[in-house]
């Protein structure tokens, strides 16, 4: 028998707040129709509980049955034993109370502080229940997918989401990029925040790749041309891919700061002394330190310089090797004519989202160097603007969300306090800037940073340490582990944290079909039309 919403599944037989409740399945409901991750409601005497099925098991009242089970041909006996001597149990983790007392009706779903009483009836959650809990699609709620095995739309409050830094995790190929694109569209449509995306693999701006399908999928700018600008570090490559770019980023040596080099210590194989030397050289030469350092070749000059600053020769050689590596990057010029930071800010100020493509420069050194440099400067501007605003003169800048991939490289324990990203994550949204971090190895990210992330969305993870780090501090962790471990290898995820009232396993919306594009771009059209009408009215 197929399970229908509101069908009785069984009754609560034991439970505790900490461990959840055991539900004895009715004999009319087949265990095989149950799935972990499903939502159920429990009709307690005074309140209704909303919970998730986290485990399903088979039980027998008498161990003898397992020792001498009825003959397989004996369907009569099997039918009798089913649901009586042999039965199914669901482990349900109650997460919220909905309705019941007057106060809770007014305040909406509340976290659970008790368990339903014995023999409370358990039913599959209905659409209406899901809506009570997750809300309907509206001006700030974006439809991100469907809870597993349900038709209901799972809607996420993006206004709420962007208030904190967030993380998207999952092992390679599980759908992080597709999910991120979806969230970006959501933010673009349903929140006031603008996005800056450091797009390591050129997947967000114009088109993204699609495993198992011909060609690629459309990315942000193709869908929302007026709301997205594509910046590139590699003009030739972008042109080759047919991307319509808005700005070619060039970075001057004079824009590189000692901190930027410090961050690359590992990837450039620099010694501590070499990094220390950078700070001294900067003090000595000022803005042009890099150019000048690279330029000195005369042995005598070098010696005097090093002696005056007490830098060891080997450290200097080590540093020069490192700088030479950076110098080979084609987008680095002695002095850039146009300022990338100003341009990015210009777009962001107008509410246009910026995707920076790295083209062929997909190595982690380049990515870290550029992302960190630009983000630091942009963050500085936001700090200034926010401080001015706090003094009461102007409105604060619109919130900014910065998306970075391979986040553990920036946010691992060793360098999290040196990168701007560590600082942004820790300072929360003091300056209206938050992060969207994407990573496949969350266990490598600093614990403190992980704990600062407001909402986490995770696709399948199979490394025990990664799972532990993602679920650290979440209540019902063990139950969620089972759910997380059972996610499909693609296009299924578990979301929990600040922006959702309770954890949900869901299937992100399809991305890539003509219908999907139509739906994404259509979603706000009525709103847009209204905006246009208003504009016309005042023209």
């Amino acid at each position: 028998m197929e399970t229908q919403p509101n069908q009785n599944l069984g009754i609560v037989v034991t439970g505790s707040v900490e461990k959840g409740t055991e539900v004895r399945l009715d004999s009319s409901a087949s265990v095989e129709d149950m799935v972990v991750g499903r939502y159920v409601t429990i009709e307690g005497k005074k309140r209704r509980f909303f919970g998730m099925v986290t485990d399903i098991s088979l039980g027998v009242t008498d161990e003898q049955i397992t020792i001498s089970p009825p003959d397989t041909s004996d369907t009569f006996t099997a039918e009798i034993l089913e649901g009586t001597a042999t039965y199914g149990t669901l482990h349900v983790l109650p997460m919220l109370t909905i309705g019941g007392e007057v106060t809770t009706i007014n305040e909406g779903p509340q976290p659970v502080k008790t368990v339903p009483s014995h023999f409370s009836r358990v039913k599959l959650a209905s659409e209406a229940d899901m809506e009570t809990v997750f809300g309907k699609e509206d001006n700030s709620r974006f439809f991100i997918g469907n809870p597993l095995d349900m038709e209901t739309k799972l809607c996420l409050n993006l206004e709420e989401l962007v208030k904190r830094s967030n993380g998207i995790f999952g092992k390679s190929g599980t759908g992080k990029t597709f999910l991120t694109r979806l969230l970006l569209i959501g933010m673009l449509q349903k929140s006031k925040a603008t996005n800056l995306i450091f797009d390591m693999h050129n997947e967000y701006g114009w088109a993204g790749s699609f495993e198992g399908g011909k060609g690629g999928v459309k990315a942000l700018k193709q869908l929302f041309p007026s709301r997205v600008a594509v910046f590139t570090l590699d003009e030739e490559n972008s042109r080759h891919r047919g991307v319509s770019t808005d700005f070619v980023v060039r970075i001057g040596y004079d824009e590189i700061e000692p901190e930027d080099i410090g961050l690359l210590r590992q990837t450039l194989n620099l010694t501590d002394q070499a990094v220390e030397a950078v700070y001294q050289l900067k003090r000595h030469f000022g803005k042009g330190w890099m150019q000048q350092t690279l330029d000195i070749s005369d042995a005598a000059d070098v010696e005097t310089l090093l002696q005056s600053m007490n830098i060891h020769e080997s450290s200097f050689a080590n540093l020069k090797r490192g700088l030479a590596t950076i110098r080979r990057l084609p987008f680095l010029v002695a002095h850039a004519q146009t300022n990338a930071v100003d341009n990015i800010l210009g777009y962001l100020d107008r509410g246009i989202n910026v995707v920076l493509e790295f083209g062929r420069h997909r190595d982690i050194t380049t990515y870290m160097l550029v992302a960190n440099m630009l983000a630091r400067r942009i963050y500085q501007r936001y700090q200034e603007k926010t401080e001015v605003a706090m003094a009461g003169k102007v409105t604060p800048p619109t919130p900014l969300v910065i998306t970075i991939e391979e986040a553990h490289k920036f946010l691992n324990h060793d360098i999290a306090n040196q990168t701007i990203f560590g600082e942004i994550a820790r300072e929360m949204r003091k300056y209206n800037v938050t992060l969207l971090v994407i990573d496949q190895r969350p266990s490598a990210i600093d614990e403190e940073i992980m704990s600062q992330l407001g909402t986490k969305i995770t696709c399948l993870l199979d490394n025990e340490r990664d799972i532990d780090s993602v679920l650290a501090g979440v209540s019902g962790k063990n139950d969620l582990k089972t759910v997380l471990a059972r996610l499909a290898p693609k296009q299924q995820a578990l979301i929990f944290g600040h922006a959702v009232p309770m954890p949900v396993a869901f299937r992100p919306r399809d991305w890539g079909t003509a219908k999907s594009y139509e739906e994404f771009t259509h979603e706000n059209s009525s709103e847009k039309k209204a905006e246009k009408d208003i504009k016309e009215l005042f023209e």
């Binding site: 008498d62 003898q64 009569f76 006996t77 039918e79 009798i80 034993l81 009586t84 001597a85």
Partner: protein, 194 residues
């Protein structure tokens, strides 16, 4: 009224009835009823037999020169008067004002009350629940309880539109009663199967 016998001995838990016709005994395990003051008492036939009327006097064999059993009775018509068929009934419930109670009535049936076979309607009404199985299983009977329970349920199932579903439901009740005694349960279930 489809009367099959008359009570000759009665207690709260059991009664014995004599058949009006020799050998016209109700089936073992079948449901019978007795109309008493303000109620009908229901019971399951749990033992039956035929013997000589006078205690201590044993019937003797008479058919040495007869061709068949009928011929024996024909040649000695007095036998019909000297022998009697009796059956014992285990009381399993009662009905008062149309409501079924599957536990013992407050008073036993009267001597000389008429025992009737139950109609399919009676059976259906009485067997809506299976609490009576408990009474059957908790009595020390002369015949193995498993036999009687299985026989009774098989008899009852005939009155139901879907005998299979009835037996499954009965089996489920037995499973609950026999939780912890899987082997006994298996024995009964094997006898329930048709």
């Amino acid at each position: 009224m489809n009367k099959i016998g008359e009570i000759v001995e009665s207690t709260s838990t059991e009664f014995t009835a004599e058949c009006y016709e020799l050998h016209e005994l109700p089936a073992l395990g079948s449901l019978v009823k007795v109309t008493a003051v303000e109620m009908e008492i229901f019971g399951i036939v749990c033992q039956s037999g035929t013997a000589g009327i006078e205690p201590g006097r044993h019937p003797v064999a008479r058919g040495k020169d007869e061709a068949s059993e009928e011929a024996v009775y024909q040649s000695s018509p007095q036998l019909m008067k000297l022998l009697r068929s009796e059956f014992q009934v285990l009381v399993v419930g009662h009905i008062i004002n149309g409501k079924t109670y599957q536990y013992l009535p407050s008073k036993p049936a009267h001597i000389h009350a008429f025992v009737q076979a139950c109609s399919p309607e009676d059976i259906k009404q009485f067997s809506q629940s299976f609490d009576f199985l408990n009474i059957m299983l908790n009595n020390r009977l002369q015949i193995p309880t498993e036999e009687l329970v299985a026989a009774g349920l098989r008899e009852m199932s005939k009155a139901h539109a879907d005998p299979h579903a009835f037996l499954i439901a009965a089996g489920k009740s037995l499973t609950v009663i026999f939780s912890g005694d899987y082997h006994r349960l298996k024995t009964i279930l094997a006898r329930l199967k048709q």
